[in-house]
């Protein structure tokens, strides 16, 4: 199922506003996730605000931008990441949602005027599409 046109437009408009700073917000979202949901730290050996968290924040930013460019074919576009997270990292998929929720909090905090209920709904749907493409399909 593909994201509706108005949701795509809303998320893309926000992404243009974020510009080259997407990684700033995904890194902050990761830090928020580790603090709010300590179980998520079990997959990393790190300290908050470390170079490792920033590096992962950049990877998440890149993946979300790729996803936004391939909304009509997310499972194929994210297949390598799906395999990595399920087979190599063996991440419980519930954790994707925790990061997604923290990203919404981060964006609401930094863009309060833009963060209407409609935009929140569009972002939530976009993230659910990404998460469903990343979660393992067969095991």
């Amino acid at each position: 199922m593909v994201l509706a046109a108005e949701d795509q437009a809303a998320v893309r408009a926000l992404w243009r506003k974020l510009g080259s700073n997407v990684h700033v917000y995904t890194t902050e979202a990761l830090e928020r996730t580790f603090l709010a949901f300590p179980s998520t730290k079990t997959y990393f050996h790190l300290s908050p605000r470390s170079a490792q968290v920033r590096a992962h924040g950049e990877k998440v930013a890149f993946a979300l931008t790729v996803a936004l460019d391939h909304l009509d074919d997310l499972p194929r576009a994210l297949s390598a990441l799906r395999v990595l997270h399920s087979h190599k990292l063996r991440l419980d998929p519930v954790n994707f949602k925790l990061l997604g929720d923290s990203l919404l909090v981060t964006l609401a905090q930094h863009y309060p005027g833009d963060f209407s209920s409609a935009l929140q709904a569009s972002l939530d749907k976009f993230l659910r599409h990404v998460i469903s493409a990343l979660a393992p399909s067969c095991r």
């Binding site: 603090l35 923290s102 981060t106 609401a108 930094h110 309060p112 963060f115 209407s116 209920s117 929140q120």
Partner: protein, 147 residues
């Protein structure tokens, strides 16, 4: 019971004292209904909920949101006994209103987003972490009497 340190409790109460409960309550409930549209099933008597604008401006949504958030505020005064505080409400939501407790968790997360939007930088990652514990505690307390 919610496991908060003394500093976390102070931070939670400190922020709450600045919250405009009526406004934030209406916004949180409205956003729940917009972002998770299946939750509208509980509010069919509220009139027009057909668009995001209709929901966010609906006076019944605002009134009920205010009621819900005032109740949440009560919980903040009784963090050591959330189950006792919400026992009657838990029974009501199970026996009369038939609300899936998952909705309490959704509303808790929406409240965290609304607090972030209103308080900006003041809603630090540490403060968010404390509030996540509180909303989880309230949701669990509201689900506790389900049978």
């Amino acid at each position: 019971m919610v496991n908060l340190s003394g500093d976390e409790k102070n931070a939670v109460h400190g922020l709450w004292s600045k919250v405009k409960v009526d406004e934030v309550g209406g916004e949180a409930l409205g956003r729940l209904l917009v972002v998770y549209p299946w939750t509208r099933r509980f509010f069919e008597s509220f009139g027009d909920l057909s668009t995001a604008d209709a929901v966010m401006n609906n006076p019944k949504v605002k009134a009920h949101g205010s009621k819900v958030l005032n109740s949440f505020g009560d919980g903040l005064s009784h963090l050591d006994n959330l189950k006792g505080t919400y026992a009657k409400l838990s029974e009501l939501h199970c026996d009369k209103l038939h609300v899936d407790p998952e909705n309490f968790r959704l509303l808790g997360n929406v409240l965290v987003v609304v607090l972030a939007r209103h308080f900006g930088k003041e809603f630090t990652p540490d403060l968010q972490a404390a509030y996540q514990k509180v909303v989880a505690g309230v949701a669990n307390a509201l689900a506790h009497r389900y049978h």
